[in-house]
């Protein structure tokens, strides 16, 4: 009966418990991840006198407020400490598995979920955090929700959602050496705009996407929200199954075989229709850096920052001028050579092992000329990186090796960029004040951030490699 369907449509149909006349569906939620910031949602739940419907499908992780330096002492900041403790207390009271400050599995929720095999193809996963789109790399329908929705999922294990439209972004061809997933997604956002995918679920397809490992696919899906996407997804394949197999919460034995058989039916059928299609040539993507205060303000490192006079209209002129003023950049100046004050390597975008390897490959045998912080995305990433000696590469270069968490991506734990300072960052948002009041953020790949650390300026990593 049904014609060819997209990956998204298959998952949506399998999770719609009921659908209203206006097309809004009540979706069953398979996994709900919570973090310190979810305290509002817990508060609302308790205020309503309701209980958690499925504590066994709810997992709590401390990431936003945990310190990245020295965990031998209690958290000094009483408010941050309070939020970390509140999460632990809520988890204990409601019978939720909790990965707290001293857990060997602690880390950023979007790094740990996949590591533990909680993120599986064909599931619907939500979290009170916009970068939940990360989990779509597994062929999961995963999206960020607000606090009221957190309370709703806690109480009902379901969520009302208006059916989004679909957008397929096909990237064919081969990426140049030293061009990474981060460059791909920045190029995508520059192309379609920060609101380019609003109201849409993005499916990334094409030979360049198929060639990527799971961590790189997570980097791409992670930043779907920076293009306004409701979610980002990649069809699961043998790379996906190989990565998941054997992880703690992944199915085993007969359940694994049944799951893989099911997952092989998920990819979009030939002929399935998308509401919109965008095509990019992988070969055209260069190492990419943001110059402004929205992720769409991204350019090849070889480019020049725009001049307000180049804009089509007055609003465009004003938008460029305001961004250049905040960023302290001269209109038309070359991006390369822009002086950088500090470096941050980490976050749910680029805090995984291959990211750290890429940065270490540039830094090995070199010295950083500016301070920098390298923060693994999870304790597991930290362990693996240390086993390979990556920590020594970073510290020998003069950078600081931190404890896992969100850290300087958002600065909630106190890791802030000073006002007016310019930071080369592997995180996902260059918004005004994101890394601290008055902080100036340039988003780039781990290898490019490492190159910036060496040169003390925005540098084309291809010249160092």
């Amino acid at each position: 009966m049904t014609g060819p369907r997209t990956l998204f449509e298959k998952i949506w149909a399998a999770h719609a418990v009921t659908t209203r006349e206006d097309g809004t569906s009540l979706l069953w939620i398979d996994r709900h991840l919570v973090h310190e910031g979810s305290f509002h949602g817990f508060g609302m739940l308790e205020h309503s006198g309701r209980k958690i419907r499925r504590p066994d499908l709810t997992f709590a992780m401390a990431d936003h407020y945990v310190p990245s330096h020295d965990r031998r002492h209690p958290i000094a900041d009483p408010e941050a400490a309070g939020l970390v403790t509140t999460l632990a207390a809520n988890a204990a009271r409601h019978g939720i598995t909790h990965f707290g400050l001293d857990s060997p599995d602690q880390g950023i929720v979007h790094v740990v979920g996949p590591e533990l095999g909680l993120t599986l193809p064909g599931l619907v996963l939500v979290c009170g955090d916009s970068h939940t789109s990360t989990h779509g790399a597994f062929g999961t329908l995963a999206f960020g929700i607000g606090a009221s929705e957190v309370a709703h999922v806690l109480a009902t294990q379901s969520l009302w959602q208006k059916r989004p439209k679909t957008l397929r972004i096909t990237i064919d061809g081969t990426l140049h050496p030293h061009v990474a997933a981060k460059d791909v997604i920045l190029a995508v956002i520059a192309r379609i705009g920060a609101a380019g995918a609003t109201g849409h679920v993005i499916e990334y397809a094409g030979s360049a996407i198929r060639a990527l490992g799971m961590e790189a696919r997570m980097t791409i899906c992670n930043m779907s929200i920076e293009a306004g996407g409701r979610a980002g997804m990649i069809a699961p394949d043998d790379v996906t199954f190989g990565w998941i197999s054997g992880r703690r919460h992944a199915p085993r034995g007969a359940a694994w075989d049944a799951a893989v058989a099911e997952w092989r039916r998920l990819p979009s059928d030939p002929g399935a229709l998308f509401d919109r299609e965008v095509h990019l040539d992988a070969h055209s993507i260069a190492p990419t850096v943001t110059w402004g205060t929205t992720p769409e303000a991204a350019l090849p490192v070889t480019g020049n920052v725009p001049n307000p006079d180049d804009a089509k209209d007055a609003a465009g002129r004003q938008a460029i001028a305001a961004q250049l003023a905040y960023m302290g950049l001269t209109p038309g100046a070359p991006l390369e050579g822009t002086r950088i004050d500090r470096v941050f390597i980490g976050s749910c975008t680029n805090g995984r092992l291959p990211d750290l390897r890429a940065a270490a490959a540039v830094l090995k045998g070199r010295k950083a000329s500016i301070p920098g912080l390298v923060v693994p995305g999870s304790v597991a990433v930290k362990r693996e990186a240390e086993a390979e000696g990556l920590d020594a590469v970073f510290t020998d270069a003069g950078l600081t090796w931190g404890e896992p968490g969100c850290s300087m991506c958002v600065g909630m734990n106190g890791d802030l960029v000073a006002p007016g300072q310019r930071c080369a960052s592997t995180s996902n948002r260059n918004f005004e004040g994101r890394q601290g009041q008055g902080a100036r953020t340039h988003l780039m790949s781990p290898a490019m951030a490492a190159a910036a650390a060496v040169a003390g300026a925005i540098t084309d990593v291809r010249k160092l490699a």
């Binding site: 418990v17 009921t18 209203r20 206006d22 809004t24 009540l26 069953w28 398979d30 910031g37 509002h40 508060g43 309503s48 499908l57 408010e79 941050a80 309070g82 939020l83 095999g117 909680l118 599986l120 064909g122 599931l123 955090d129 916009s130 960020g144 929700i145 607000g146 606090a147 009221s148 929705e149 709703h152 109480a155 009902t156 294990q157 379901s158 009302w160 989004p164 920060a194 609101a195 609003t198 929200i225 306004g228 409701r230 049944a258 799951a259 099911e262 929205t294 769409e296 609003a315 004003q318 938008a319 958002v410 909630m412 948002r429 918004f431 005004e432 004040g433 994101r434 009041q437 008055g438």
Partner: protein, 185 residues
């Protein structure tokens, strides 16, 4: 939730695109309990940095803004700051999806209107009628707007989402009992 039917009052014009939720409420305030009141966190850094920033808490009930308002972080605190600061309605050409969802859950009406700053920016004052789905300008011009039927109903009636969902308890239970074995951890 406070029901929303009609609203009239002065506007603040934020004529810039991509106002993200980090601007609406900087991250350092998100640790505060809701009982603290979020009004003073509203645009805290922009208000400090730009003397002429056109929006202060408790001055207007309506904001007219540029495209992609509320993009970025899912923080519902952005909506709390607007609502606690006296804002009941934001009109923009487009909104971040998560922000718009959060708004509806807190009685904040978001109206999608192409070219909103150009069409409404000169009006000092607007009257909004949600049941009729109209915006009326001081000169009497009436502009119709579209809104999802369910979102409208929740706003007009001030409905509790969770209570509404539990009406479907049987369907939920049926779905739950049919989950494949591999889908639970």
């Amino acid at each position: 939730m406070t029901p929303f039917t009609t609203l009239s009052g002065p506007i603040a014009l934020l004529d810039r695109p991509n106002i993200d939720t980090d601007q609406i409420i900087p991250a350092r305030f998100l640790r505060k309990p809701r009982s603290a009141g979020y009004d003073n966190f509203l645009f805290a850094d922009l208000r400090t940095r730009e003397n002429a920033f056109p929006l202060r808490p408790h001055t207007v009930p309506i904001v007219v803004a540029g495209a992609n308002f509320g993009c970025g972080s899912s923080r519902e605190g952005a909506v709390y700051a607007l609502v606690d600061g006296g804002i009941r309605c934001v009109i923009a050409p487009s909104f971040g999806d998560i922000f718009a969802g959060n708004a509806g859950k807190n009685g904040l009406l978001t109206i999608v209107l192409p070219d909103a700053p150009a069409r409404l920016g000169d009006a000092t004052h607007l009257a909004i009628d949600l049941p009729a789905q109209t915006i009326t300008l001081p000169d009497g011009t009436v502009i119709a707007f579209a809104i999802d039927a369910f979102r409208k109903r929740c706003l007009v009636e001030g409905l509790d989402d969770i209570g509404l969902t539990l009406v479907h308890a049987d369907a939920l239970a049926a779905h739950e009992s049919n989950l494949p074995a591999w889908a639970t951890p």
